[in-house]
Each structure stands twice: as C-alpha cells, then as structure tokens.
Symmetry: D4
Subunit: 149 residues, 8 copies
Amino acid sequence: MGLNVYLSGEIHTDWREQIIEGAQGLDLTFTAPVTDHAASDDCGVAILGAEPDKFWHDRKGALMNAIRTRKGIEDADVVVVRFGDKYKQWNAAFDAGYAAALGKSLVILQPEAHDHALKEVDAAALAVARTPEQVVGLLRYVLTGALPD
Amino acid sequence: MGLNVYLSGEIHTDWREQIIEGAQGLDLTFTAPVTDHAASDDCGVAILGAEPDKFWHDRKGALMNAIRTRKGIEDADVVVVRFGDKYKQWNAAFDAGYAAALGKSLVILQPEAHDHALKEVDAAALAVARTPEQVVGLLRYVLTGALPD
Amino acid sequence: MGLNVYLSGEIHTDWREQIIEGAQGLDLTFTAPVTDHAASDDCGVAILGAEPDKFWHDRKGALMNAIRTRKGIEDADVVVVRFGDKYKQWNAAFDAGYAAALGKSLVILQPEAHDHALKEVDAAALAVARTPEQVVGLLRYVLTGALPD
Amino acid sequence: MGLNVYLSGEIHTDWREQIIEGAQGLDLTFTAPVTDHAASDDCGVAILGAEPDKFWHDRKGALMNAIRTRKGIEDADVVVVRFGDKYKQWNAAFDAGYAAALGKSLVILQPEAHDHALKEVDAAALAVARTPEQVVGLLRYVLTGALPD
Amino acid sequence: MGLNVYLSGEIHTDWREQIIEGAQGLDLTFTAPVTDHAASDDCGVAILGAEPDKFWHDRKGALMNAIRTRKGIEDADVVVVRFGDKYKQWNAAFDAGYAAALGKSLVILQPEAHDHALKEVDAAALAVARTPEQVVGLLRYVLTGALPD
Amino acid sequence: MGLNVYLSGEIHTDWREQIIEGAQGLDLTFTAPVTDHAASDDCGVAILGAEPDKFWHDRKGALMNAIRTRKGIEDADVVVVRFGDKYKQWNAAFDAGYAAALGKSLVILQPEAHDHALKEVDAAALAVARTPEQVVGLLRYVLTGALPD
Amino acid sequence: MGLNVYLSGEIHTDWREQIIEGAQGLDLTFTAPVTDHAASDDCGVAILGAEPDKFWHDRKGALMNAIRTRKGIEDADVVVVRFGDKYKQWNAAFDAGYAAALGKSLVILQPEAHDHALKEVDAAALAVARTPEQVVGLLRYVLTGALPD
Amino acid sequence: MGLNVYLSGEIHTDWREQIIEGAQGLDLTFTAPVTDHAASDDCGVAILGAEPDKFWHDRKGALMNAIRTRKGIEDADVVVVRFGDKYKQWNAAFDAGYAAALGKSLVILQPEAHDHALKEVDAAALAVARTPEQVVGLLRYVLTGALPD
C-alpha cells in the first residue's frame, strides 16, 4: 500500500519540505499547489494575456491554479491542510471542504491558537496535528503500523 | 422551477433576513445553519454531556452542527456564502469548498476588500455579489428571467 | 409516471410554445433557459455591476445563466435540444453534451440540412425529431403508450 | 504529477502537433479523436457493412467514434477544445459539455471572433487561450509552476 | 415508507394486473414499459417517420422505448422482472442487469424450469418468486411487516 | 427543513417508541426495519416457500429484509444505530458501516460499557448518545436550533 | 491509449480466441468469464461445500462467478457481448444491461436472426457486429484510426 | 486480471498469513488493517499527544486507523471479513457494511456457530467460507478458473 498525499495551505514556511524529508523511504507520493506566491498570483495574465482589472487578473490566475489543485486533491488519498499563524487562508479552508466532500482522508496541521476557529474544519478531519513531525509519524504509522520510538 | 437556497457564513448581521424578505413571492426555500452563536458553540455538550477539554467540547458541537449543515448543502441548488468584515470565517470557506465539490451553484457575498484573499473561492462561484439586494436580484432573474428595473 | 422536460437551444421561433401547447393534459413539467435574448446577454452586469470589457460582461452573464441551465438539465428526465437554421448554437450543443454525460434521455429537434454536422450529437440521443409535433407525439407515447392517429 | 490531456475539436490545422511538440519533455499524455476526416466519416460502414441511407451511415460512424472519444475524455485530466474559424463544430461544443458535466478541467482554444458565441462554453472552462503556445504555457505552468520567459 | 416498483419483462399474460390488484391498499406506485406489443414495436417509425430497413425500424422504436424504461428503472426502489415460458426475453434480462448495476432491489418472477438458465440473474436478486401472489406477499411484508395468513 | 431518520439496531426494548414519541411535533419521518423478531426471521420461507436447510432459510429472510433496510438507509438523512446490552448485533454494525459509506449522518446510541468495542463505529458517527432523550434533543436542535431547557 | 475489453457471452465456439488472435499487436487487455462450463457450474460447491438442493448449488456458483464477472466489466472500457445461435443466454443479456448502466462502451456480436429479439440490447450498444473479424476491425480502428484494407 | 484483496476482521489468529501463503503465485495484492493490537489502540495518542479521557483516546486512534482502513477497502476488489470465535467484532461488521455499500465483492470467513447471527452480513456477500483454504481456493478459481484437486 502506498499513499498519494496532497499538501495544501500555507506557503510561507518550509513545512512541506519537513514532511517530505521526514517521510523519506516511505511509499508516498506528494503533490502540492504552486508555492511560488508571485507566479501563483500572476500565472493567468502571464500566460493568457494581461487584464486591466485586478478582479479578473486574479480570476484568470485562480482558474488556472485550479487545474493543478483539483487534480492534486482528486488523486489524493490523504489531504494535509496547513493553517499558519497569519493571513486569511480561505483557500486552505476551501480545499479542506472540497476534500471532505470527496471523502478524502483529511489531516489538519494547525497551531492551538486556531482550535476554536477551525472546529468545523477539524470535525471533518481524521487527525489534527501540531507539527510536521506528527504528520510524518501519522503517515509512517498508516503505512507500516510502526509507532514513534 | 423552484430553488433550494442554503445561506452559509457570517452570523453577525441580518443579511439572511434581507435576502429572505427581499425574495418574498419567489419559489424559493431557504435553509441555513443555526445562527445563535452560543447555542451553536455549546450544542454538543448541552445535549450529549459536558467535556472538560475545550477541544472536545468544540468537536462535539461541530459534529452535531454538521448534521444540519450537510443536509442543507446537499439539498441545495444554490449555496450563498457570506464573508463579513471580521473573523477568520474558515467554516464559510469550508462550506464553499464542500458545495463546489458537490457541483452546487455557488454565490459569494463579500466586500471588495476581500477580493484578493477570496480569489480561489470566487473562481469556483457562478456569481460574486456585494449586497443582499444583488443576491435577491440574481435569484429573481434565475427563476423568472426578470431584470431589476 | 410524469416527466420533467428541459427545452434547450434555439430562441428565435416559438417551438417551445408549440410543444407545451401540444402536450397539454400530459403529466409533464417543462423548464427552459431564459429566452429573452437581451436579458440573457446582460443579466450579469445588470444585476452585479457593469464591466467595461465585453469578454467579462459576457462571462458574468453566462455564469449567472448557468445557475438556471444546470438546475434545469440536472432535474430533467428528458432534454430536448433544438437546432435552428441559423447561428452557431454552440450553447445548444454544449447542453446536449452536458445532458448526455449525466445520462439524460436526449431528444434532438433539427432540420435535415444539419444531419451530417450533428451526427455525433444525434448518436448520443434517443430520438431525432423534425417538428415540434413529433416531439409531442414522442412525449405522449412515452407517458401513455398511445401512438398518433 | 502528470496529466492526461484530450485534444478535442477542429481537425483542419496542425494545432495538435504544435501543442504536442511544444510540450515535449513535460509529463503529459495526449489523446485525441481520429483526425483523418474521411476515415472518421466512413468507419462505421467500412467495418460493419454499408448503409444505403446517409443518416444511418453517419450514425454507425458516430457511434463507433464515440468509443474512442468517451474513453479519451473520461480518462483525461484536462480537455482542450479547439474551435476553428469555419464549420459548425457542434461535436466540439458537445465534447466541451460532456467534459464539463464530468468535472474535467476544460481549456478552450478559440479566435476572438467567436468570443460572444462561445460565452457559455467559456464560462464552464478554466482557461480561454488564443494560440497553441498559450496552451503549452498553461500545461507547463500547471505541471512545473514555471511561467514563460 | 412507500415503494416505487417497476414491472419489467413478459407482456403476454396478466401478471402485472394480478400484482397491482393484489397489492391494493399498499403504499406502492407501479410503473412498467408499454405493454402493447404492436405499439412498442412500431412507435419509432409511427412518430418519427418510416424506415425501409427493419434493423433501423427496430432501432428507432427501441431507443424511444428506452426513455420510458430508463425512467422507470431509475426511479424504482424495487424492480420485478418476469420471465415467461416462451421467447428469448433478452430485454428482460437486460433490464435485470441494468437494475442490478444501479443497486436496485431486484425480484425475479420465474417458473422453476428456468432456474438453471437464470442462475446468474437470480444471484443478483433479493428474491426469486414463482407466482404474482408471492410478489404481492413480499411487497406487503416489506412495507408492513405482515406475513401471509 | 425536515429530516428522514432511520432507526437501526436493537429490537428488544422500546427505544424507537421513546424517540418517536419524544420527537412529536418535529418535522421528522421515521423508518425502521421490521422489528417483529419471528416475522423477520421467517419472512423468506413464509412468503417464498420452505427451505430444509437453516442456512438458506436464513438467507431467504435476510435478502427479503434487505429490501426494506436498504430503502430505509438510502432515503435517510440521519441513521440512528442502537446497540443494546446483549447479543452480537452484527447487523447493527453492518448498517452503520453501510450508512457511513453512503455519507449519511450517523448517530450511535450505546451504553458506556461498549465504548471501547465500538470505537471504530463511533469514529464514523457525528454523535454518540446514551439515551433516547439525548437523540430527541439532538434531532430537535438540528431542526430548530433549540437547546434543552 | 490502450483499452480493456471484456468478452462476455457465448462459451461454445472459439470467438474469443479469434478476436484475441486477430488483435495481436494492439494495445488491448482482454478479460472474460471462466469459460469451462463444468467448472463454472460447480465452482461454488467444489470450493465451499456441497449443496443437496440444485437451486442453492447453482446460487453458490453464480455468486462466486460474479466476483470475476463484475471485476471484468467494471474495469473494462469496452464490453463485447456475444449471442450465439442456441440457448437462453440470459447471463449475456444481463451483462449487457449491467455494462450499459455503468456507461461502458458496448459492442454486440450476433447473427442477423437475433436482430429483432435483441433490439433493446442493440439500442444500448455502440456497435452491432456479425463476425469476430468485425470486432477486431473495430478495435483496431478505435485504437489506431486505421480502416480495414 | 489481478485482484486487490483487503483482509478485515479478527486479529488474534494467523488466518491472514494462511491465505497469503496459500495464494502464493497468484496475481493478488493483499492489504489489511494494522494488526498489532496495542499499536492500533494507542496510535492516536502516541503520535498526536495524550488524552486523559479514554473515550477521546480511543477516538483519536480510531480516526487514524480509518485512514488505512478506508484506503484498503476503497482500493479493494474483494474484501474478506473474518469473524472469529470471540469478542464483539463490531468493526468487522462495520467494514462489511462499508464494503457492501461501495459495491465490493464481499467474502465472509466464519464458523458455523455464527451463521444465524451473521445472516444479514452473509446475505450481502458473494461467498461464505469456513477456512482460509477455502478463501484461497476461491481466489485461485476467480483468477484462473481452476478448481481444487
């Protein structure tokens, strides 16, 4: 048994790298959105042509990013959604809802400070983790049955 | 043709009442989450027994509220999600993602200030409205073909 | 047994009225897109605000009309798609493909002149009719087993 | 992450070859309908026996081509539909509707002249491109996050 | 709880009438194909125009009848399929397979002489009955819990 | 908003009656399996003919009961599964798994003594209740937002 | 593009071998039911224990064969169903209905003598072939676009 | 044709090893839950942090184990559920219900003593086996058509 894992959410820290590195040797395939913030914001107009109106500039980019995001989530067995300390992060919560409706196994990675605000999201999840190490421990256990030392 | 409309999101202003009142006479059925904030937070423990730990207190309530939320969204033709000026509102974004994955017609009601932060959510929607009146106008048009005067 | 029938396609002749009138007395519920051409084109900007760019003007309207179109097709048992003599009518063919993928019973109403160009669409249909009277005859037979005199 | 891409629509120019060539080196698998116009028209009768009536001649071919078309669309992550300058191209619009109903990521490749006539089709798409190069740029970005120079 | 029951198969005896009469007073809705053999065979050409070739004559009729058959089966909770003593009855077995794949509750009404030939069909069913009275008894029990005297 | 509620599981106490009585006045529709133990065991052979082998005697009855059980669960919004003090009750756990896979809102009614043995079942549920009164309180809250006094 | 092809139906001639041999070199994977008639009839009791009653003897075998049949059909892109000259062949028609309801591309291989009796089955198919060579020609065309010489 | 087989249920005897060993050489992939009882009970708290309350201690573990269980069942062609002599084994029955609702081919491995109590579970299955050797015989037959000597 292997698992496809989609890593959604916060793009300002190296939590994805920590998970991928920590999980080396396990039968896991990771996917993620484009995490280059500028490219992600401007992809639509850079590729398909400029828009004078910021709203449609954003729309063009968001639609294009959705091709990757949907593919990643739909192919995933496990969707890990990371909520960081800052920003609205509505796309992270949107991905969590999208994944939940598709019946994906959802893991939320969040600081305790967000517990109350995320209670509906957490209630749809199979695990709430505090650190990337815990996510690695969870993935290792699910695949191998081994608990951390 | 009638429409079932689920009104998700912000619970601190009377936007739901404005839509329901404005849409009188149209063949619409409205549903919504429990909007009494205190009841919504405490329902789990009030009905099923106290929890000393706040995390599980919240979990019990969020799971119970999910019975109503899922029923509302799954039965809806149109899901309107309102983002207000304040708070994290991750449950609103979660509902939007959930509705999008189920193929529901999504309408987002939001102030312009949130446009960039909501661009992924908006890109999954069939309309972005600024006022409850616009939502009423949209529902009237969809049902009757009549434009506002 | 009753049937929900969605009448898609051409909006410049009275074929819908002919079918609805001819089918009086049968247990049928008809739905259709907004057939007021000007309202259908301008609904998005009339309700949600003007767009200087014609492309996004059209997009806003098309997204709003999709709320009605999808509801109509998804609730239908039978989708009748009319191709007239003129215009591109790509939205009619799009609706036919959409309905086919959902497993709806598809009836195409078309002049013989279009037979070769519509062969892929017709191949997904359960009937190809030439006149509204034939569609009425078909609906009557499906509901009652009665053939035309 | 790799992507399966179905290239639907116009068969009179080399747009498919341009995309496939431009996308060399990316983790993409391309499928397409049979693009030999004569073979596509006559396959049914050539393999299963002649039909004196042109309508059923066409039907036999269209049904046979549907085996390939459905397989291509159903296995695809991305469906690119090209509308050329000429002809009715209703099968292209039908494919777009079919793909949309299945939740595929839809990309429309069209000249500006068709923008108004294709507005409903475009509204179901995640991108509207003008050139095969733009489609290549989009696919490269979705897979690698890299924008054009 | 009420049940929609589709009565498929043999059209040469009055088994449908026996079931419907026997089940009077129960919360049941019955549907069935057109059981007028001649009308069923000729509906396609009678309504949509003659075909010189018997194969396409039959095809036109079979496609038209499929509108009713699919609606009946898809809306049914229980599909009763009757195999009589004579004829090929492949459409009955086809309906049984169609209903089974949709997860419908399947009841087969057949003489013992067919038991071996129908073993794959029976294995997909929830009951194999010998008489219309048994089917009535089954429907009464399912709805009310009452056994025959 | 109304709710369909299927009451699965233990048939030796009056827990169903307590819930139905306690919930009077709420917009609820209740369904349940046949709760007459003897009828439920013997329905297959009583209606379709005796079986000398107890295994097939049981099989005939279980298949017939499945018509009602599946209809009840598939139409339900909420599935309440009651585990009593005694017996294996594997059909109750089977119903819970069946309902969970269909995405139904699951409520488990169980004594504390079973908590550890039911932990996988409970983890798929949206609520674990101890008394019929709690189930009534939950249903009232979900429909009306009102908490118990 | 490759295709999975399930070969259902008649087991008394070598039509499967003719297709598999004729299609050598094409990207096809063939599956089929167990075609050893005696093994297919007796598998249930041979593996799980004897049954004195022929009805349950047959049932045990039919259920076991369904594991293979369902897997074959559910994984198939194309389901070819062969009707021979003799026998009831209800399992073939059942497979055709099962495949049709799952949206599989259906090809029927039948003698002309059966055309009228199979008209409902044929109407759900994308091709009706007379010989294994025609099926090979069809599969070659679908994969490569090449017509027979 | 190969098969994915999920081995659910009893974890106190070596029935899984017997099946896997007996089936060597067949094109089978086996998955199973974590069968280390202590690890399975404590995984949630060991990885995500301690819980003072046993109920939530169990919940955390059960949710985590569900990631593996759901993946195993959803990817399986055949789900074998073993009921042993002892314990409640409600998770086994839950898995059987879950698999049945997803349309998986279900095989139950049980002692005769449980036949009456498991009759509803067995009625949803395609085979009831008494020994691991019988399960191996079934899998060999399904894949190769060969009966035991």
